[in-house]
C-alpha cells in the first residue's frame, strides 16, 4: 500500500535535488496518511510506520503492538518531538538573529556599536543616506558589479572551452594536464601573490579592474574546468556521436547538444564566479590601490576594522544592501548550487 509509493518517491527524488520539493511534498502526504492510522510516532521513514501498523499482514513478524506499549511509545515520542522542536526553534533563532540584528542596527539612530538595541525606539534611514553622501558607496557598488559580471563571463568562456577539450578529445599530454590542474587548484593564492603583483605592475594592469578580472578568471579555471569536465563526461558519448553520424559539425554538436545539456553545472560555475568578487577582499586589496577603484568588500571591511566601531551603523546599512541581493540570488538559484555541487563532486 504505502510502502511501494515510498519507494517510487524516493527514487524520483534521487534523480536530483530539483525533484526534492516534489519528493518532499509527497512524503508529507504519506505522513498525514499514516498519521490517521497511527498516532504519529517519531520514526525515520514511512516504511516503519507501515510495518508497525500492520498494513502488510502477509509479512511474518509484524504484529500489531499491544495497547500499553503503544501508549508508552506515544509518550516517549511526544517528549522526543518536543525536544526536536525546541532544537529546531533554537537553531532557527540563532540563524535569523544576526540578520535581524544587523537590519535593526542599520535603522537605529546613532552610529556606534554601543547604541544598538534589538528593538530601537525610532527607525531612521539616515545611515543609508550617509553611505552615499559620506562614502562612495554607489561607486563601490558599480565597481563590484562590473568586476563580477566581467569575471563571470570571462571565466565561464575559459572554463567551458577548457573543459570541453579535456572531456571530448583524447590527445597526448591530457592526463598530465588534468593532474596539473588538480594540483594547481589546491594551491593557496598567497604564494603567487607577490609574483602576480609584479607581473601586473609590468603589464600596467595594477590598480585596474581589468587586472583584477584577469586574476580572478585565471584562478577560476582549474577548479571550474575540472567540475565541468566531470559533467561533460557524464553525458553519454552516444549522443554527440549520433549527431556526428547525422552530419553535425563539431561546433554544432557543441552549441546544440553539449551546452544545453550542461546548463545546471554552467549556471553553478557562472553563479559562483559572479559571487566570488563580492566576497573577495585579499586580491582586491592587493590589486586595487586608489579609492575610486574600491570594491564593496574593501570598503565595508575598512568601516569596521580600521576605526573602532564608530561607523558601525553605516557598515550595517552597507551590509544589508550587499547581503539582500546576493542572498535573494542565492535562494532563488539554490537548487542549481546544491545540484551543481553534488553532481560535480560525484563525477569529479
Amino acid at each position: 500500500m504505502k510502502a511501494p509509493d515510498a519507494i517510487n518517491i524516493s527514487s524520483a527524488a534521487a534523480v536530483g535535488t530539483d525533484a526534492c520539493t516534489g519528493g518532499k511534498a509527497s512524503a508529507c502526504i504519506i505522513v498525514q496518511a499514516n498519521a490517521g492510522a497511527n498516532d504519529r510516532i517519531i520514526t525515520e521513514h514511512p516504511g516503519t510506520i507501515a510495518a508497525r501498523t500492520g498494513e502488510q499482514p502477509d509479512i511474518p513478524g509484524s504484529q500489531p503492538l499491544p495497547a500499553y506499549k503503544k501508549r508508552k511509545a506515544n509518550i516517549r515520542g511526544m517528549i522526543v518531538r518536543f525536544f526536536i522542536y525546541i532544537l529546531l526553534a533554537a537553531t532557527a533563532i540563532s540563524c535569523v538573529y544576526p540578520i535581524i540584528w544587523i537590519i535593526f542596527s542599520s535603522l537605529t539612530p546613532g552610529n556606534s556599536l554601543f547604541s544598538t538595541k534589538l528593538i530601537p525606539d525610532r527607525l531612521t534611514l539616515e545611515h543609508y543616506k550617509e553611505l552615499f553622501i559620506e562614502k562612495d558607496f554607489g561607486l563601490w557598488y558599480m565597481n563590484t558589479l562590473k568586476i563580477a559580471v566581467l569575471t563571470m563571463l570571462f571565466s565561464l568562456v575559459l572554463v567551458i572551452i577548457t573543459a570541453y577539450a579535456l572531456s571530448q578529445f583524447r590527445f597526448r599530454g591530457r592526463r598530465f594536464y588534468l593532474v596539473t590542474m588538480l594540483v594547481l587548484q589546491a594551491f593557496p593564492s598567497f604564494m603567487t601573490m607577490i609574483a602576480v603583483y609584479l607581473l601586473l605592475l609590468q603589464l600596467n594592469l595594477l590598480d585596474s579592474h581589468l587586472g583584477l578580472v584577469l586574476v580572478y578568471a585565471g584562478g577560476a579555471i582549474p577548479g571550474g574546468a575540472l567540475l565541468v569536465k566531470g559533467y561533460f563526461d557524464g553525458i553519454p558519448r552516444s549522443i554527440p556521436e549520433a549527431a556526428k553520424i547525422d552530419g553535425a559539425s563539431s561546433s554544432k554538436i557543441f552549441a546544440r547538444i553539449m551546452m544545453p545539456m550542461s546548463i545546471p553545472i554552467l549556471a553553478f560555475v557562472a553563479l559562483s564566479n559572479f559571487i566570488a568578487p563580492w566576497m573577495d577582499f585579499i586580491l582586491a586589496r592587493l590589486v586595487l590601490r586608489s579609492a575610486s577603484k574600491k570594491t564593496l568588500a574593501i570598503g565595508l571591511y575598512e568601516m569596521v576594522a580600521e576605526k573602532t566601531s564608530t561607523e558601525f551603523a553605516m557598515f550595517a546599512a552597507g551590509a544589508v544592501m550587499v547581503a539582500v541581493p546576493i542572498t535573494i540570488l542565492f535562494v532563488v538559484l539554490q537548487r542549481f548550487m546544491i545540484h551543481g555541487l553534488s553532481e560535480g563532486a560525484s563525477k569529479l
Binding site: 522542536y85 532557527a92 609574483a195 607581473l199 579555471i221 563526461d233 559571487i275 546576493i326
Partner: protein, 424 residues
C-alpha cells in the same frame, strides 16, 4: 635532416615552401629578438644582480632589481622551452614528410597541412587560452615562490630596489626549525591549524547530518520552512556574516555580552582570551558551515531506497540501529570526497580567521603571529605586513605539499578518474 641546422630548411627541401618560410621566420625572430634577452635574463636569474643602488652626490643611481631579474629570468626560460618545443615539432615534421616522400607520396600542400593541423590540433587550440592564463598567473608565480624560499628576500636588509637579494640555499628551511621563535611559531600555528581544520569540518558535518535527518524524518512538520531558514547563513555573503559576528561578539559593546549581563552572567572575553577566541572561531564556522552539509545530505537521504529501512524494521531494527547501519554508511559513502574537500578548505580558511579575529589575541612568544592564526593567515602577515618573503615562501611550500597531496589522493580515489579511460 636539414631542419636540425635551421628551422624550416627541411620543409623547403621537401618542397613545402610556405611552411618552411613560416618556420624560418619564427627562428629568425627568436634569434634576433629573444636570444640576447634570454641570455641576459638567465644571467640575471643566476646572479640576481650585482650592482646595488647607490647614492652619488645626493642622486640615486639605479642598481639591479633582483626580484625583477628573477621574474624575467623565469619567463624567458619558459619562452625558451616553448621555442624548443616548436623546434622539435619542426624537426619531427620534416622527418615525417621526408619519409612519406621516400615512400613515393607527395608532400602535402600548405592548405592541407593547415586543415590537418586544425583537426588534430583542435584540442590544443581550445586549451591555449587557459594554458596561457595558468602559465602566467599560476605556474610562473609558483616557480617564483619556490625560488624565493631559497633567497634572503626580506625586510629590513634585503629589500629591493634598495639592496640586492642573494641565493642562500637551504638556510631558510634549516632556520625554520633551528631558530627557536620561528620553530615555536611554526609548530604552534601548524598544530592549531590542523586542530582547527579537523574540528571545523567535524562540527559542521555532524550538525549538518543531525539537521538533515531531523528535517527529513516523518514526524517533523513544516519541512520547507525549517529548511529555508537554516539555509540563510549559507546564502549570506560570507565576509558580511563574519564581520557581523565580529561585532556581535565584541566583548564590551556586543549584544551577546549585553544579554548575558542582563541575565547575570559576567561578560565573556569572546575574542580576547586565547581559548575563547578559538572556540568563537569554531562556533562562527559552525554557524556558517552547517547549512552546506545539511543541504548536501538532504539530497543523499532522499536517495536512500526506502526498502532498506523496511527490511530493517522487519528484522526488528530500532531507529538507532537503522541510523547506524543504513543512514550513516550511505551518507558517509556519498559525502566522503566533499568532507575531504571541506577539510582542505578549512585548512586554508583565511577569510574567517582574518576577518573575525585577525589572528589575535597576539602571542608574544610567536614570530608575528597570534593565538588564532592559522598557517595561511600567518603567511599573509609575513608577506603583506612584515615583508618576510623568504620565510613565507618556505611555509607556503610546506602548506602546498600537504594540501596538494590530500586533494590529489582524494581525486585519484574517485571512481570516475580511475575508470576514466575504460569508459571512453
Amino acid at each position: 635532416m636539414l631542419s636540425v641546422l635551421f628551422m624550416g630548411a627541411g620543409q623547403l627541401y621537401n618542397g613545402q615552401i610556405v611552411k618552411g618560410i613560416i618556420f624560418m621566420l619564427a627562428e629568425v625572430f627568436y634569434i634576433i629578438h629573444l636570444i640576447p634577452y634570454t641570455v641576459k635574463s638567465v644571467r640575471g636569474l643566476i646572479t640576481l644582480g650585482d650592482t646595488p643602488q647607490k647614492m652619488v652626490g645626493g642622486r640615486i643611481i639605479q642598481g639591479d632589481h633582483s626580484i625583477f631579474l628573477m621574474v624575467f629570468g623565469i619567463i624567458s626560460i619558459m619562452v625558451f622551452f616553448i621555442f624548443a618545443a616548436i623546434y622539435i615539432i619542426n624537426v619531427k615534421d620534416a622527418v615525417n614528410v621526408g619519409r612519406r616522400r621516400d615512400k613515393g607520396y607527395d608532400a602535402a600542400a600548405f592548405m592541407d597541412s593547415v586543415r590537418n593541423l586544425s583537426e588534430k590540433g583542435f584540442p590544443y587550440l581550445l586549451l591555449t587560452p587557459a594554458t596561457v592564463f595558468i602559465l602566467f598567473l599560476t605556474v610562473v608565480p609558483l616557480i617564483f615562490g619556490v625560488m624565493i624560499a631559497f633567497t634572503n628576500y626580506s625586510s629590513p636588509n634585503h629589500l629591493p630596489p634598495r639592496s640586492l637579494v642573494d641565493w642562500v640555499g637551504f638556510r631558510n628551511f634549516i632556520n625554520l626549525f633551528k631558530i627557536s621563535s620561528l620553530g615555536k611559531t611554526f609548530t604552534g600555528v601548524a598544530v592549531w591549524t590542523l586542530a582547527w581544520a579537523v574540528l571545523a569540518t567535524l562540527t559542521t558535518f555532524l550538525a549538518g547530518l543531525i539537521f538533515a535527518v531531523i528535517i527529513n524524518s516523518n514526524g517533523v512538520r513544516l519541512k520547507k520552512f525549517w529548511r529555508s531558514i537554516f539555509i540563510l547563513p549559507w546564502a549570506m555573503p560570507g565576509f558580511i556574516s563574519i564581520l557581523i559576528m565580529r561585532n556581535m561578539f565584541n566583548a564590551q559593546f556586543g549584544p551577546i555580552n549585553k544579554y548575558l549581563g542582563a541575565i547575570g552572567i559576567p561578560p565573556v572575553p569572546w575574542l580576547a582570551d586565547p581559548m575563547w577566541a578559538r572556540a568563537t572561531c569554531l562556533l562562527v564556522n559552525l554557524w556558517l558551515g552547517f547549512p552546506y552539509y545539511m543541504a548536501m545530505m538532504s539530497g543523499v537521504l532522499t536517495g536512500i531506497p526506502q526498502d532498506l529501512y523496511e527490511a530493517a524494521s522487519i528484522e526488528g531494527a530500532g531507529a538507532v540501529q537503522k541510523f547506524r547501519h543504513i543512514t550513516l554508511p550511505m551518507v558517509l559513502f556519498a559525502t566522503a570526497p566533499l568532507v575531504i574537500n571541506g577539510f582542505a578548505y578549512n585548512f586554508n580558511n583565511f577569510t574567517l580567521i582574518y576577518m573575525l579575529t585577525n589572528g589575535n589575541p597576539t602571542n608574544n612568544e610567536y614570530f608575528y603571529a597570534g593565538h588564532t592564526d592559522i598557517l595561511l593567515s600567518w603567511l599573509y602577515k609575513l608577506t603583506l605586513e612584515q615583508s618576510q618573503y623568504h620565510m613565507a615562501a618556505v611555509v607556503s611550500i610546506i602548506v602546498f605539499v600537504f594540501i596538494a597531496s590530500i586533494s590529489t589522493i582524494n581525486y585519484l580515489n574517485t571512481k570516475s578518474f580511475r575508470e576514466e579511460d575504460m569508459v571512453q
